[in-house]
C-alpha cells in the first residue's frame, strides 16, 4: 500500500465522504450499538447456558452407550487431527502423499467404529446421534454421490441417445423436487421398491436418499467442468494416440473435476447443512438431539441458547470444510503442482 493519508483522514474518506454517507454511518452505528448492548444484556442477565454445558456428550454422540463413547470420540478426534494436519502440516513428503488415501479411509473407518463388528460390540443405528451422525451422514452420502454424479454427467454427454435421455430426465426431475420430499419419500418408498425380505435401517435409507438427490446436483457441476475443457485437449490426446478411455481418465476428467471443485465444495457444505433436515424425519443428529433437549422440562424455553450454540457448531464445521476445499484447490492448481 502507498504511504497515503493519515489513518484519521482515511477513516473520514471511507465513512464520511458526504452528508448522506455520514447519515448512513450514524444510523448503522446506532443500530449496531443497540444490537450489541441488548445482546450483552441478554448474555449477562438472561442467558442460562446449562442446557448446553450439561449436555455436551449428547450433542456430540447422541444416546450412544456411555461405555462405548470412545468410538465416536476417536473418530471425531481423527477427523480433527487430519484436518489440522492437512491445513498446517508439511507441504511435501510422504505424509502429504498419504493424506488423500487416509481421508477416503475415514469413511469406512467411521462406519466400522460406530456400527461395530471386527471385534467391536455392535451398536444398532438408532443409538447413533449428535454431531457424529451429522458427520457420518455427510461423509457417506458424499462418497456415494460423487461417483454417481460423475457417471450421470458423463452419461448426459455421450452420443448414445438412450443413455443421454435417461440421465437428463433423472437429473432434471431430481433437481425439481425439494430435498425434504426426497428424504421423506426415501424413508417411505425405498422399502417398497426392495424385495420383501431386504430391510434397510433409517440411517441407510437417509444416506441413500441424500446420495440420489445430491448426485443430480453434482452431475450438473461436473458437466459444467466438462464443457469448460477446450476441444483441443481431446484432439491433442487423440494425436498422442490415447484411446478414448485413456483420454477420459487421464486428460478430460482430471481437468473437469478441477474446474468443478469450487462448485462441489458448495455442494459439500450444503450437504452438511441439509443433514439437519433429518431432524424433522426422526433422526437424532445434531439438530434432532437439540430438539429433543428443548422438549425436556428442565430446559423449557431455552431456545436462544441452543440455537446460538448450534449455529456456532455448524458454522465452525462448515468453515473447516470450506478451508479444506480451498486448500485442495490450491494444491491442484497447475502453478502449484508444476513445482
Amino acid at each position: 500500500m502507498q504511504p497515503g493519508p493519515s489513518a484519521f483522514k482515511r477513516l473520514k474518506r471511507q465513512l464520511l465522504a458526504n452528508p448522506l454517507d455520514g447519515l448512513i454511518t450514524v444510523v448503522v452505528l446506532a443500530l449496531l450499538g443497540w444490537a450489541t448492548i441488548s445482546t450483552l444484556h441478554w448474555l449477562v442477565f438472561g442467558a442460562d447456558w446449562r442446557v448446553v454445558s450439561q449436555n455436551l456428550p449428547l450433542y456430540a454422540f447422541g444416546s450412544y452407550p456411555a461405555d462405548q463413547r470412545w468410538r465416536p470420540f476417536l473418530w471425531i478426534a481423527l477427523l480433527i487431527t487430519l484436518t489440522l494436519l492437512t491445513l498446517l502440516g508439511p507441504s511435501r513428503g510422504w505424509i502429504r502423499k498419504a493424506l488423500p488415501l487416509v481421508w477416503i479411509a475415514m469413511v469406512p473407518c467411521g462406519v466400522v467404529l460406530l456400527a461395530g463388528g471386527f471385534g467391536l460390540l455392535p451398536i444398532p443405528s438408532h443409538a447413533w446421534g449428535g454431531l457424529t451422525l451429522t458427520l457420518l451422514l455427510t461423509a457417506c452420502s458424499g462418497v456415494l454421490a460423487l461417483p454417481l454424479g460423475i457417471l450421470l454427467a458423463l452419461g448426459r454427454q455421450t452420443s448414445l441417445a438412450i443413455i443421454q435421455r435417461s440421465c437428463a430426465v433423472y437429473i432434471d426431475v431430481m433437481r425439481a423436487v425439494p430435498l425434504i420430499a426426497v428424504l421423506f419419500f426415501g424413508q417411505l418408498l425405498i422399502p417398497l421398491f426392495l424385495p420383501m425380505h431386504l430391510e434397510l435401517n433409517r440411517v441407510l435409507r437417509a444416506v441413500l436418499a441424500f446420495a440420489l438427490f445430491l448426485a443430480a446436483y453434482i452431475a450438473e457441476d461436473v458437466r459444467g467442468g466438462l464443457q469448460a475443457i477446450p476441444r483441443t485437449q481431446r484432439e491433442a490426446a487423440a494425436v498422442l494416440g490415447l484411446s478414448p478411455q485413456q483420454t477420459l481418465w487421464l486428460v478430460v476428467l482430471p481437468q473437469a473435476m478441477r474446474t468443478a471443485l469450487p462448485a462441489l465444495t458448495n455442494q459439500a457444505v450444503g450437504l452438511l447443512q441439509n443433514t439437519s433436515l433429518m431432524a424433522i424425519l426422526g433422526l437424532v443428529e445434531l439438530l434432532g438431539i437439540s430438539l429433543s433437549l428443548l422438549a425436556n422440562p428442565d430446559f423449557i424455553g431455552r431456545y436462544l441458547e441452543v440455537y446460538i450454540w448450534l449455529a456456532g457448531v455448524y458454522w465452525l464445521v462448515c468453515t473447516a470444510m470450506a478451508l479444506l476445499a480451498r486448500h485442495l484447490e490450491h494444491q491442484l492448481s497447475p502453478q502449484t503442482s508444476a513445482n
Binding site: 448512513i24 420430499a181 420383501m196 439438530l287
Partner: protein, 299 residues
C-alpha cells in the same frame, strides 16, 4: 466406435435399464398388492377430515382431499411470491452495499452473507419462529405506528393480517435467500468493467444514481441466470414450512399420506406440482431475460 458397435451397446444398455426398472416395479407391485394399495386416485374425492390453520378460499374439514391440496398449493404460492420479492430487495441492497464507498456498509453486508450462508436454513427457521415470533408479547410492537405491528399472533401490515407461522417462514426464507442473491448481485457488479465506474464518476454523477443507471443495467444479464436458480431454490426450500407448521403444499401432502398411506400417489402429486412451479419460474425469468436483452439492444 463403429456404428454397429454403438447400436449393440445402446441396445444392451437399454435392455439392462429396462430390466432394472422392471425389477423395481415388480417389487413395488408385490409390496403394494400385499397391502391391497395398488395405484389409485379415487381417494382424492373423499373428505379430508383435517383442519387447515390458513386457507385462501373457504375450506372446512369435510371438504375433499383435492380441495385441501389446492389450499396447500395456494399457501405455497403465497409464501413463494412474497419471499421472491422480499429476498430480491434484500439481496440487491446487500449486494450493492458490497461495492459501496462506505466501509461500514461493506463490512455489514459481508458479515451478513458470511454468517447466514454457513448456518442451516432449518435452524434459522426454528430461530425465527420459536425464538422470534413466539417469544414476542401479546401486545403488539409498533415501531411505525399503525403502519406495521408485530406481536405473537403475527404481523399486521397496513390492515393485512399475516400469521406468525407465515411471517417466520417468510422472514427466514427471505433472509437466507437474500444472502445468496447478494452474492449473485455482487458477482454481476464485479463483471462490469471498472472503467464504467470511473466514467460515471468523472461525469459527476452521484454514486447511487451511477450505480442504478450505469452499472446495474450492464450487470443485469450476468445476474439473471443466477437469480433464476436462487428463485428455484427458494421455491423448493419453502417446503421447510413444515418446521413451523405452516400449511403449505408439502405439509398437506404429508398429512394426507399419514392418513391414507398413499405414498406413491402423494409423491406423484408433489412431483407434478413442483415441475409446474419450476416451469412457471423459469418461464417467467426467461421472459424477463428476453425483455432485458431487447431493451438493451434497442437503446
Amino acid at each position: 466406435m463403429k456404428r454397429s458397435q454403438k447400436f449393440y451397446l445402446q441396445f444392451g444398455l437399454a435392455v439392462s435399464l429396462l430390466i432394472f426398472i422392471g425389477i423395481l416395479i415388480y417389487n413395488l407391485w408385490v409390496n403394494l398388492s400385499r397391502t391391497d394399495m395398488l395405484l389409485s386416485f379415487r381417494w382424492l374425492e373423499q373428505p379430508a377430515g383435517f383442519p387447515l390453520a390458513e386457507h385462501a378460499l373457504s375450506y372446512k374439514p369435510s371438504d375433499s382431499y383435492i380441495w385441501a391440496l389446492c389450499m396447500g398449493w395456494l399457501n405455497s404460492l403465497k409464501v413463494i411470491i412474497c419471499g421472491l420479492l422480499a429476498a430480491t430487495v434484500l439481496g440487491i441492497l446487500a449486494g450493492t452495499a458490497r461495492s459501496s464507498r462506505n466501509a461500514l456498509l461493506r463490512a455489514l453486508s459481508s458479515g451478513y452473507v458470511a454468517l447466514i450462508r454457513q448456518i442451516p436454513l432449518l435452524l434459522q427457521l426454528f430461530f425465527w419462529y420459536f425464538a422470534g415470533f413466539l417469544r414476542l408479547s401479546q401486545t403488539p410492537l409498533a415501531p411505525l405506528g399503525t403502519l406495521i405491528q408485530v406481536s405473537k399472533q403475527g404481523v399486521e401490515l397496513l390492515g393485512l393480517h399475516l400469521s406468525s407461522e407465515f411471517s417466520a417462514l417468510l422472514v427466514g426464507l427471505s433472509v437466507f435467500t437474500g444472502a445468496s442473491i447478494a452474492e449473485v448481485v455482487r458477482g454481476g457488479i464485479n463483471s462490469v468493467p471498472r472503467g464504467q465506474w470511473e466514467a460515471f464518476r468523472s461525469l459527476g454523477l452521484p454514486e447511487g444514481l451511477g450505480l442504478r443507471s450505469v452499472v446495474l443495467p450492464q450487470a443485469l444479464p450476468a445476474i439473471l441466470p443466477g437469480l433464476t436458480s436462487q428463485y428455484l431454490n427458494l421455491a423448493k426450500n419453502s417446503t421447510l414450512a413444515i418446521a413451523v407448521a405452516y400449511a403449505d403444499l408439502y405439509k398437506v401432502i404429508n398429512t394426507t399420506i399419514t392418513q391414507t398411506n398413499r405414498a406413491i400417489e402423494g409423491f406423484l402429486l408433489l412431483l407434478i406440482s413442483f415441475l409446474m412451479l419450476n416451469l412457471l419460474i423459469t418461464g417467467g425469468m426467461e421472459l424477463l431475460n428476453r425483455l432485458v436483452l431487447k431493451s438493451q439492444q434497442s437503446s
